[in-house]
């Protein structure tokens, strides 16, 4: 099967700043990939390019062979690292909204996940704590049967028990056709679910490898390798 995501010489420049420089990447289907790097390394830029929220300065990025367009947006499920939903909406309103626009939104799955986390469908986002809001956002994203899930810091503001639940949801929810790209700093927590990792530094890819290879060849965990490679 072909790669779900392919970048060729992907470059993004903001004025004088080179946020991404000549990135060549391929993401395989059915994998959970960690996008790791220090702040300012270009992770968010990469993710925005993937989602069509930014346009490349040069080079290409393709999802299922297409450059970002409404069709790719249908197949990519994105969780930004901020609250991006309309605060006044109730959870059931959001379900209606997602169901309306995305042809792959599984409402039953979403309702079930909501119940498991003890969140009421009729609550407004405005009335929720930050952690609960993040859970709702995650449920919406994972309830879509997408080809590529892009999660930007999915477990950041969440308690440890919920973190386990979220990670579990991520593993059990994707199919062989789909991949999950996770961008995070909390490497130790996420490492156990990752298949592959990409290290990004100053807009360039410094490492692409499977987690197993790192453990075998380097003899250390990804977290430790990261601390070594990106030592300040």
């Amino acid at each position: 099967m072909s790669a779900i995501l392919k970048c060729t010489n992907l470059t993004k420049q903001f004025g004088k700043k080179l946020a991404l420089s000549d990135v060549n990447l391929s993401l395989e289907r059915g994998k959970i990939i960690g996008l790791l790097g220090p702040n300012g390394s270009g992770k968010t830029t990469f993710i925005k390019l993937l989602n069509g929220l930014l346009v490349p300065t040069s080079g290409e990025i393709r999802i299922n062979g297409l450059t970002p367009c409404p069709q790719t947006k249908q197949t990519v499920s994105y969780l930004p690292d901020k609250t991006y939903l309309n605060d006044w909406m109730k959870v059931c309103d959001l379900f209606d909204f997602f169901e309306d626009f995305y042809n792959n939104f599984d409402r039953m799955k979403a309702v079930e996940m909501l119940q498991r986390l003890n969140i009421n469908q009729n609550d407004r986002l405005k009335s929720m704590s930050k952690g609960t809001k993040e859970k709702v956002q995650l449920i919406l994203v994972m309830s879509r049967n997408a080809d590529l899930y892009v999660l930007d810091e999915p477990i950041g503001g969440v308690d440890p028990a919920s973190r386990d639940y979220i990670l579990n949801t991520i593993i059990t929810n994707y199919s062989e056709k789909a991949s999950v790209l996770i961008s995070t700093h909390l490497i130790a927590d996420i490492e156990s679910v990752l298949d592959d990792v990409i290290f990004l530094k100053d807009g360039k890819v410094t490492l692409t490898s499977s987690v197993d290879d790192i453990r075998m060849q380097e003899g250390k965990s990804v977290d430790n390798l990261f601390r070594e490679v990106f030592k300040c």
Partner: protein, 266 residues
Amino acid sequence: MLSKLIKYEFKSTAKWFFPLYAFTVVLAQLTKMLISSSIFEEGMLNIIPTAITSLYVISIVATFIITFFLIVYRFYKSMVTNEGYLTHTLPVTTTKLILSKLISATLWAILASIIALISILILYFDVTEFQELKHFFSSSNLQLIAEELSSNGFSFILTIIEAIVLVLITICYYILKIYAAIAIGQLFNTQKLLASFAFYFVLGFITQVISIFIMLVPMFSDWISSDGSIDFFHTLLPTGIISTFLLCVIHFAITNYIFSKKLNLE
């Protein structure tokens, strides 16, 4: 997809507009009751009907201003702030996004005008005056107007249609001017809102300058007949419609280009 977008536009904005318009109409009714009642005719209390009437006039103006502001707010919030992460990752083209917002905003603007009109009617017309108005618009009078117009080469129906189209296109133009200003403001890294505000006036200024130049053209061209005045009037509405439509297209194109190619959410 476009109809879905429009539906959600209305859902998101109805909760602001309906209360606003209901308030305006209620205030009109209240004002009318107060000024026609005789309780307040004595001395000091006289100030109350005057105060209420002033409040009423302010509310009519405020209805338009607040409508304008809400149109700006809705567009800015959903396209430029954090909500933009939701808006711009929907599986729709930028063109449809802008179009859905334009349609929704235009309808609210039209509703605002109708509400203002209703509110004025509530206040100033009682039944006898309404009869007079009906008489004025009676078929015989309209017939006279139509005859007068056609003797000058105007079709009554066509003129009315053209006038309505011109009003609609002009409303669209003002809304698209807001959108284009917000789009241009979005290009700046800091003070986006301020930049948008500034560019709203810059765009208006540029448009004015260009349209003055364009208006000078017919004055010097040969396609005015010897009986110059009537031809000017014949072409007034259609040229108005065409030129405003062109302005709409330009502002739409600017907005569309910036939001599809130059988007940079924080």
